[in-house]
Amino acid sequence: MDRSVRGRMGTTLPSLDVPEEPLPPDGLLRGDLELPEVSEGELVRYFSQLSQLNFSIDTNFYPLGSCTMKYNPKLHDEMASLPGFSQIHPHQPESTVQGALKLVYQLQGLLSELMGMAAGSLAPLAGAGGELAGMLMTRAYHLSRGDTARSRVLIPDSAHGTNPASATMAGFEVVTLPSDADGNTDLDALRRTAGDDLAGVMLTLPSTLGLFDTNILEVCRIVNEAGGIVYGDGANLNALLGRAKLGELGFDVVHSNLHKTFSTPHGGGGPGAGPVMVAERLVPFLPAPVVERRESKEGGESYTLATPPQTIGKMGAFHGNFGVLVRAYTYIRLLGNAGISQISEDAVISANYVLSRLRHDYDLPYDRHCMHEVVLSARSLKRDHGVSALDVAKRLIDYDIHPPTMYFPLIVDEALMIEPTETESRETLDYFIDVMKTIAQEAQDDPALLHDAPHDTPNTRLDEARAARRPDLRWKPA
């Protein structure tokens, strides 16, 4: 920390109330540990000032596609920090944490119901952790049947990078599955590749194009018949809550991102949670632990941590990101049946509203209704005015709007992936739409304005090449 000065204190030193023990020999002890030395007030100012350099949901429209940047209710944080939740130790005897276990048990049930699955485990620590768990279950399932040749996992060309990375970590070979002209799974390609070596597919529904794959039932049928497992990347569940259950469509396993669909705060890049919910045949393989409910003969109930019989193992040292689970539970219970279905309705209306009002200003790669997000393209702007998706994104910053996801999915040139979410008002969407139109106009009138954007931030565009070439990843004490 640049403001460190030898001798300053940022806190007080608790007193020693026991006799001193001689310290271990010097050889074991370290010399000076150069941590920052700042007063408490300087600390607060440092972190407060820096915080204001962030755009955030609390302060900005943040239509970052695929990330579901919705409002994070403040009640959740209060619930998660109740001492009865935040101060309990993961090794406590189960009899002393029945409230916590009950909450986990109930959340397992709620998420299973929402996804139409038989059961699930809340142990995975983020979406990618859920993917890894799902792929390891796929592996364990096939192996448990002596089916040892299933080495390949099909993944759409539009998929998020974590999908192929997770499949690889689970020991599979990744084969890319193309999309058809409508943005659906290319069924012919699927049929060609779905053979005896097929372990499974990883699908995102709606896809990262923001489209509901109208071939989905057929896809599941083909994979199933080929003996494969259908994995659902649930990052986009915000579109489907209460509208469709992935289990009913034929999915075998789905992870959901509690930090997206279930509104737990994104924290500048986590923590999240990536529970996996599964169909009957995968239940024995779930990651540990799961919470089970026991009824005593007297009608009392108790909850216990259990290890599924053929578990793939643990996804972390303890029982999942409990603090995140409390938030998601609070969310689902407050909104309830009626509120949950309203989420997808409003999210989908908002995205389509943006689509319909911007379709003539930007390219629309697939001319269909979208689901909860819309992928536009700056292809024509680029061709005609040399203005890229990046330029558009950076220019939005000048209007206090966080840029959409850019250049993803990879199959759309100059992609701008816009996810408004259900928590943004129509007025905000109108403002965004107006700004996007203005920017399209600016691209014609004054492309340099966009190339140089953003203008009003403490930093203009940063030299990323230099950062990678000459990595400066830490300060060192003088």
């Binding site: 940022g10 608790p14 020693l16 023990e21 002890l29 370290r30 540990l33 941590l35 920052p36 600390l43 820096l50 755009f55 955030s56 302060t59 990330c67 994070n72 009640l75 920090s81 109740l82 001492p83 009865g84 935040s86 309990i88 090794h91 406590q92 409230g99 916590a100 119901e113 990618a128 192929p164 997770s166 690889t168 990744v174 209460g242 469709a244 469509l249 991102n257 705060p265 994104h266 500048g268 986590g270 990651p287 996804m315 972390g316 040292a317 029982h319 999942g320 409990f322 609070t330 909104l335 049946n337 389509n352 509203y353 689901m371 928590t423 931030t457 403490p458 990843l473 830490r474 300060w475």
Partner: protein, 442 residues
């Protein structure tokens, strides 16, 4: 009263908004937007309870929280991977700022310097603490960080055997096993004595202080690993690093740690943060986000995500890890904690733990029937052999309002792993010793 029907406080759309928007979209009802869903599966029955207003819900959840026995209200001597330490109020306050809580991964550096610069600070502090050259922006938690370190060592050495010292935490071992399945790594359990490592060994994994709270001979272990061309991977403890020589001083190649003890609430096991540091020459094999310092078009200092070609969103199936959303906010908590404690504070906390744990051990050791089975230097934890099975001892302690230690009888006969930190007052320690004496042999 008017029954108003349920209006979500989280969605601003009114019926009027919706109809204006649907009109602009050019559909007559919202159902049309969902028509791609196969009709037989559209709008299924949803067996979810009705909405619950905040007041009612709060009562219900507070009741659930109230069913738990809360350390602090009860003296608690559990450690084993999660530690109770005093957290200065300022730490919580900082991490609670909405701009940190509700932003996401800093893909757009011009509007994320808050997250980026504090992450650079985090990397610097983790590097300092571990004595390593570089650190990343954090992993999910300690055990997955360790597992990823094993995978990284395997990539670097192109070897497939992972030697794990038998004093590594059993739950960390379980996670290692989970992560080893895919790449087909073999885990070899080795003792601190003289088991030879093989030339197929990618790395030797050591926990320091070990699961039982004692220091391992890092110097000797480093030699043994390096002699075979294997890497030394150390799973460290950040509070212990306040006083003990860091793994970097022992030529460790990769150092991981659970960061929870630095200001993060126990929260029944998560969210936590995994520290991950290594030698600079292995940088490009690191998993996880990395923030670098650079300049903007006007020459001003700024920070960006860097070396992203390692990562899944660029490298996809050839990425160094699948990790995407990590635990930035928890990393921030530990950053604020380390900065608040500073040079003198962390050392002080470490020494307090050391003195208090030894005080507790000295009391318990003197109780007839109890003994300390291990020799050597311990830090904040130590194992006690109890006259009764630890599970039973713990039940008796609980009757006396004390949450005892971790039952490690699977590996140590009647062994209980006790943890004592500055969060345990002398009165608590004394009451534990008294209770143990009372419980005695039954």
């Amino acid at each position: 009263m008017q029954s108003a029907g349920f209006t979500s406080p989280y969605s601003p759309h009114t019926d009027a908004d919706r109809s204006v928007m649907l009109k602009a979209i050019g559909v007559s009802s919202v159902e049309e937007l969902f028509q791609d869903i196969p009709p037989q599966h559209r709008s299924p029955i949803l067996n979810i309870p009705d909405p619950l207003p905040e007041l009612d819900l709060r009562r219900e959840i507070e009741a659930m929280a109230g069913e738990n026995v809360v350390p602090g209200d009860y003296p608690c001597f559990l450690g084993g991977g999660t530690y109770r330490h005093h957290v200065p109020a300022v730490v919580r306050q900082i991490a609670g700022r909405g701009e940190y809580m509700t932003s996401y991964t800093p893909y757009q550096p011009e509007v994320a310097q808050g997250t980026l610069q504090t992450t650079y600070e985090f990397q610097s502090l983790v590097s300092q603490l571990t004595g390593m050259e570089v650190a990343n922006a954090g992993m999910y938690e300690g055990a997955t960080a360790l597992a990823e370190a094993a995978l990284m060592a395997a990539r670097i050495t192109r070897r497939e055997r992972i030697a794990v010292l038998d004093s590594v935490s059993p739950s960390y071992m379980q996670v290692l096993r989970t992560y080893s399945q895919g790449p087909g790594l073999t885990l070899d359990s080795v003792t601190s004595a003289t088991d030879p490592l093989s030339t197929e060994t990618a790395c030797l994994i050591v926990q320091q202080p070990n699961f039982y709270g004692y220091l391992e001979d890092l110097e000797g272990l480093a030699e043994r690993a390096h002699a075979q061309g294997a890497l030394l991977v150390v799973c460290s403890d950040p509070i212990a690093l306040g006083m003990f020589k860091p793994p970097g001083d022992y030529d460790a190649d990769i150092v991981v740690a659970e960061g929870q003890s630095l200001g993060v609430a126990p929260s029944y096991g998560g969210p936590y943060v995994g520290f991950f540091a290594c030698k600079e020459r292995h940088l490009r094999q690191m998993p996880g986000r990395i923030v670098g310092k650079t300049v903007d078009t006007q020459g001003r200092t700024g920070y960006v995500l860097t070396l992203q070609t390692r990562e899944q969103h660029i490298r996809r199936e050839r990425a160094t890890s699948n990790i995407c959303t990590s635990v930035a906010l928890i990393a921030l908590v530990t950053t604020a904690y380390m900065a608040a404690q500073g040079r003198r504070g962390l050392r002080h906390v470490a020494e307090l733990c050391y003195h208090k744990a030894h005080y507790a051990a000295s009391l318990i050791e003197r109780i007839p029937g109890y003994s300390l089975p291990f020799d050597g230097t311990f830090f904040r934890e130590f194992v006690v052999t109890c006259p009764l099975p630890p599970a039973e001892t713990n039940e008796r302690l609980l009757e006396r309002g004390i949450i005892g230690g971790l039952d490690v009888s699977p590996s140590v006969d009647n062994g209980m792993l006790l943890c004592v930190s500055e969060a345990n007052s002398r009165a608590e320690i004394d009451s534990l010793a008294e209770a143990l004496a009372e419980i005695g042999v039954g």
